[in-house]
């Protein structure tokens, strides 16, 4: 076996290796430590792309850990959908990390920066694992790593607010993983398998004998992933956690981490549970209505916020609900919309948090009302914020419109126009809270009161990359959309 056969495992392992080497290196050579994480990210990205090419040519790649074949061994699966998610996760992580290099020096104490690198690598590694794994128990382990490292990159700031928020997050997330573990036990009880593929086959059979066990497991999974992905009304931990964290952590958590769990729920629904289960109880319907409420309430809560980062965090609750809506509508173009939104929202929300980070870095302002006139002091940052807001609202020419387009089309297709109205109403609400910030930033007569520190070029460059991506994703959609459509046609 050549090295290239081990790519699925290496994508995950490389981050864990980097995570343990980085604090060692940080003691002696600080710069090398950051370079190590960056090179791990780039290497993983290269491997993902290589795997994508392979999957295109030869079909789905399965990898057996240590050569142990399923159902006993752990299996990794790389198909084009998972690799697409991985591509988004790793490239967005790389982008945020580059931004973090300068921002962290400002937000964190010097001695903990090295630890931050470790946690970051652990987080990315565990997320990659969650995407790739084809085994429920392995998923549980990786979810725990992910949860702990996510908590830690919040609490690393060491102020009261962050500790409180991360404690809340830890408790709720532990509840989520607890539910998940219980659900796994239920399924293992009736089938004796943990591997997705085996479960899918066996559950269809077992459903006739033990429907209650499987119903319970499904309910537990919805609670587990719903909590982790902040599906309304299980979102209570998110605003505090995402708002108080250092800006790169917020970008990471809001932009990437919550989507991973939405994706995991998607896998449960389409790859683990048999179709007959979803047809016999209205699981899709529950998700759909929770998502619809989430889009509206997330936006309404966001409107009430006075803190910029808190507002962005509440907005994430509304946006993640689009992805759940894509899953709940149970239609291939709805899934295309939802998964396109994974990418668009990952970039957009990360960029908005970065912009907020730049504003805090340069001026120290967090309150929305103090932002009047900030556009003159920080033009590039606020232009980025404007484009990000436009994408959130779904203004044509931005990626946000494309995902809404697909969601709306499929809602009509299956004869549920009410969800089109929900999408439109939530767009309007988004406009209501994003637009005033943009307007006040540029159009206020009095000048900005605070002094603005010059912003490092690299941070601005990150914002510019985000802006370009959002605009490009609004026009040049073909590769992603075809990839998604091909992958989803397998499920219908």
């Amino acid at each position: 076996m050549g090295l290239s056969d081990h790519y699925p495992a290496l994508i995950v392992v490389i981050f864990f290796i980097a995570a343990f080497l980085s604090p060692l290196l940080y003691r002696w050579a600080r710069r090398v430590s950051a370079a190590l994480i960056i090179s791990a990210l780039i290497a993983a990205l290269a491997m993902v792309i290589a795997l994508m090419a392979e999957v295109q040519q030869t079909g789905v790649v399965y990898y057996h850990m240590g050569g142990w074949a399923p159902p006993w061994g752990i299996e990794f699966k790389a198909d084009s959908l998972r690799l697409y998610i991985l591509l988004v996760v790793i490239s967005v992580s790389l982008w945020i990390f580059v931004f973090a290099l300068r921002d962290l020096q400002h937000e964190l104490k010097k001695r903990v920066i090295g630890w931050y690198y470790t946690l970051y690598a652990l987080l990315v590694g565990s997320m990659s694992g969650i995407v790739l794994t084809n085994d429920l128990f392995n998923l549980f382990v990786l979810m725990e790593i992910c949860a702990i490292s996510a908590c830690a990159i919040i609490s690393i700031k060491e102020d009261r607010e962050c500790l409180e928020a991360s404690f809340k997050y830890l408790i709720l997330s532990a509840m989520g993983t607890g539910c998940f573990l219980l659900g796994v036990v239920m399924l293992y009880m009736v089938t004796g398998y943990l591997n997705y593929g085996y479960l899918h086959v066996e559950l269809a059979e077992a459903f006739n004998h033990y429907p209650r066990n499987i119903f319970t497991a499904a309910a537990l999974f919805i609670v587990a992933f719903g909590t982790k992905a902040a599906l309304f009304p299980l979102h209570v931990w998110l605003p505090d956690a995402h708002a108080s964290a250092p800006s790169p952590s917020s970008a990471m958590l809001s932009g990437v981490v919550i989507k991973i769990y939405a994706f995991a729920l998607f896998l449960m629904f389409y790859e683990v549970f048999p179709r007959v289960l979803l047809d016999s109880i209205p699981l899709n319907e529950i998700i759909l209505w929770l998502a619809a409420l989430g889009t509206l309430f997330g936006s309404i809560y966001a409107m009430l916020q006075s803190d910029l980062k808190k507002m962005l965090a509440f907005s994430s609750i509304g946006q993640i609900a689009y992805i759940f809506m894509g899953i709940g509508l149970h239609h291939d173009s709805a899934l295309v919309g939802g998964f396109y939104h994974i990418m668009v929202h990952a970039v957009t929300k990360a960029m908005l948090f970065m912009a907020a980070g730049v504003i805090i870095y340069s001026t120290g302002v967090r309150e929305i009302k103090d932002l009047a006139g900030v556009g003159r002091a920080l033009p590039i940052t606020m232009i980025a914020f404007t484009i990000g807001s436009a994408s959130m609202v779904g203004i044509p020419g931005t990626g946000g419109l494309i995902s809404k387009w697909y969601l709306a089309i499929s809602a009509l297709e299956i004869g549920r126009p009410v969800f089109v109205l929900v999408i439109l109403a939530s767009s309007l609400l988004n406009a209501v809270y994003y637009m005033p910030i943009v307007i006040n930033a540029f159009m206020q007569q009095e000048d900005f009161k605070k002094e603005a520190k010059p912003v490092p070029r690299i941070m601005l460059a990150c914002l510019v990359i985000g802006m370009l991506f959002i605009v490009v994703s609004g026009f040049y959609t073909t590769p992603v959309v075809t990839l998604l459509q091909e992958s989803f046609s397998a499920y219908f």
């Binding site: 609202v393 779904g394 203004i395 044509p396 020419g397 419109l401 494309i402 809404k404 387009w405 697909y406 709306a408 089309i409 009509l412 297709e413 126009p417 089109v420 109205l421 439109l424 767009s427 309007l428 406009a431 209501v432 637009m435 005033p436 307007i439 159009m443 206020q444 007569q445 609004g474 026009f475 040049y476 959609t477 073909t478 959309v481």
Partner: protein, 503 residues
């Protein structure tokens, strides 16, 4: 002209102003003069290029071309036919004149470094609307123009302007979402949103009706249709006068243009009539006409009065669209032209008065005609055209519309047109008459000994501003004298094309 040349010209018409925007923005740093020259030159070149399409269009040429696909069956495409040509040539002409006018007018204003690039950018996106080959491209450019025009509206950054601007923005976004909804329904029902397929939706259904209402909301909002006009009287007056002229004269028309496309290309006139949807449009149009005029009567600020008048005038266009026979459509298209000329003159003249004297209230404008005879002369011509006095173009459009109404056996519409003309007279004449025949500060209690002696103390606006107004005022006369003028011919051909498919 070959197809590819025409295509290149169209791309240039839309692209040039957009490309020039950053150039103009940076040219400020070099010199203000360069910036002004560049702005005027860009709009002039755009006008010239649009005009050069004339032989192609008049020869019956028509182009539908896909630039690239955004999503399967959803593309950015271009379309040129006589309707888009009419609107585009009108827009670029008025834009060019307003750019010339801006040079003197804006010299006293702040933030010109922002004004000119935005002015030129909106020109590009406006041309994009007219040359869009499908609803999606139309929507993209429509939103682009609407959102960027916000910067023109709040240019003065007073509290009033910001408030009006916010109202405008909220309404624009609501309208945009309605359009989006309508477009999705059309896509769902017809599988395409291209304007090149003739008719997309041929059957009546509840969903199709919802789509029609959504388009009515989205485009009607822009066109100031009742009850979605609320943003207009706030937003148009607060903008700098050349921008008001463009907002009222041209940008309102994009809404009407959208409705043309919806009625003739998405649905078909037959469907609209057989389903009775034209009734919705005509009721709203009649209310819009009467309400706009009636409220205009009560306004004391000259620009607000003009803004309400715009609402009522756009009602004519909507009325023509709802009658949907040959004369009425000619009238609607011709009134788009007429109103663009008349309303731009009125706003520019009002702007000149504000620029020279700072007076905005109609009561303060007594005797202004003696101080600024050319400005008030142009104003008077345009106001008379609005009322519909014969040799002016307003008369011709009302006449044609009335003919259309009679063809459809709807005498009541003629009555509406007459009432509205009367109301127009009631609110325009009290501006004109005191301006020439009363003295400043004239209160009728004390008799003046030199009451009948006309005293001219001429201090008129800058020559460039005057010449722009004179050109536009001449347009209202020239294109109204006989129905054998080029604009009327274009309108006639457009109506034939829309109703019959060829001319």
């Amino acid at each position: 002209m070959s197809q590819s040349t025409v295509l290149a010209i169209i791309i240039l018409i839309v692209g040039l102003p957009i490309i020039m925007t950053p150039v103009i923005m940076y040219s400020c740093r070099a010199s203000e003069k360069l910036r002004n020259i560049l702005s005027v030159a860009t709009s002039a070149v755009t006008f010239g290029l649009t005009l050069s399409l004339y032989p192609f269009v008049i020869g019956g040429g028509e182009i539908q071309y896909t630039l690239f696909e955004v999503l399967p069956n959803l593309e950015i495409s271009l379309r040129l036919d006589i309707l888009s040509f009419c609107l585009a040539v009108l827009a670029s002409f008025v834009w060019f004149l307003c750019a010339v006018y801006s040079i003197d007018y804006m010299a006293r204003e702040h933030a010109c470094g922002r004004y000119y690039p935005v002015l030129i950018f909106t020109l590009g996106s406006c041309q994009g609307i007219f040359f869009a080959g499908d609803l999606f491209s139309l929507f993209v450019f429509f939103e682009l123009m609407s959102l960027i025009a916000y910067i023109l509206i709040i240019h003065e950054e007073t509290e009033e302007a910001l408030k009006a601007g916010y109202k405008y923005l909220v309404m624009t976004i609501i309208g945009g979402l309605a359009l989006f909804f309508g477009m999705i329904i059309v896509f769902e029902l017809g599988g395409t949103v291209s304007l090149g397929v003739g008719v997309i939706i041929e059957e009546n259904s509840a969903l199709a009706f919802i789509a029609f209402i959504c388009f009515l909301i989205g485009f009607g909002m822009k066109a100031g249709m009742f009850p979605l006009h609320v943003w207009l009287p706030d937003a148009h007056p607060v903008a700098p006068s050349p921008a008001s002229a463009l907002l009222s004269g041209i940008m309102l028309k994009t809404g009407a243009y959208g409705l043309f496309r919806v009625i003739f290309y998405v649905f078909s006139p037959e469907l609209i009539q057989s389903a009775g949807w034209d009734l919705v449009l005509s009721v709203l149009a009649v209310i819009t006409i009467l309400l706009g005029s009636a409220v205009a009567l009560t306004q004391t600020d000259i620009k607000r009065r003009l803004a309400y008048s715009s609402i009522s005038q756009l009602g004519y266009v909507l009325l023509g669209l709802s009658i949907l026979n040959s004369n009425a459509v000619i009238g609607a298209v011709f009134h788009i032209f007429s109103h663009a000329f008349m309303k731009s003159v009125l706003f520019l003249a009002a702007g000149a008065i504000i620029w020279k004297t700072g007076k905005r209230l109609i009561d303060d404008m007594k005797g202004i005609g003696r101080q600024m005879p050319v400005t008030m002369g142009c104003f008077s011509i345009a106001a008379l055209a609005m009322i519909g006095i014969p040799p002016l173009n307003g008369f011709l459009s009302k006449w044609t519309l009335a003919m259309g109404a009679l063809d459809a056996n709807m005498v009541i519409y003629v009555l509406v047109l007459l009432i509205s003309s009367l109301l127009n007279a009631l609110y325009y004449l009290p501006i004109i008459i005191p301006a020439f025949f009363e003295l400043p500060g004239d209160s009728s209690h004390e008799p003046h000994h030199d009451h009948h002696e006309l005293q001219f103390n001429i201090q008129d606006a800058a020559p460039a501003m005057l010449s722009v107004m004179v050109i536009l005022a001449l347009c209202t006369i020239v294109f109204g004298l006989t129905p054998n003028n080029i604009v009327f011919t274009l309108s006639r051909l457009t109506a034939q094309y829309l109703l019959g498919g060829a001319f």
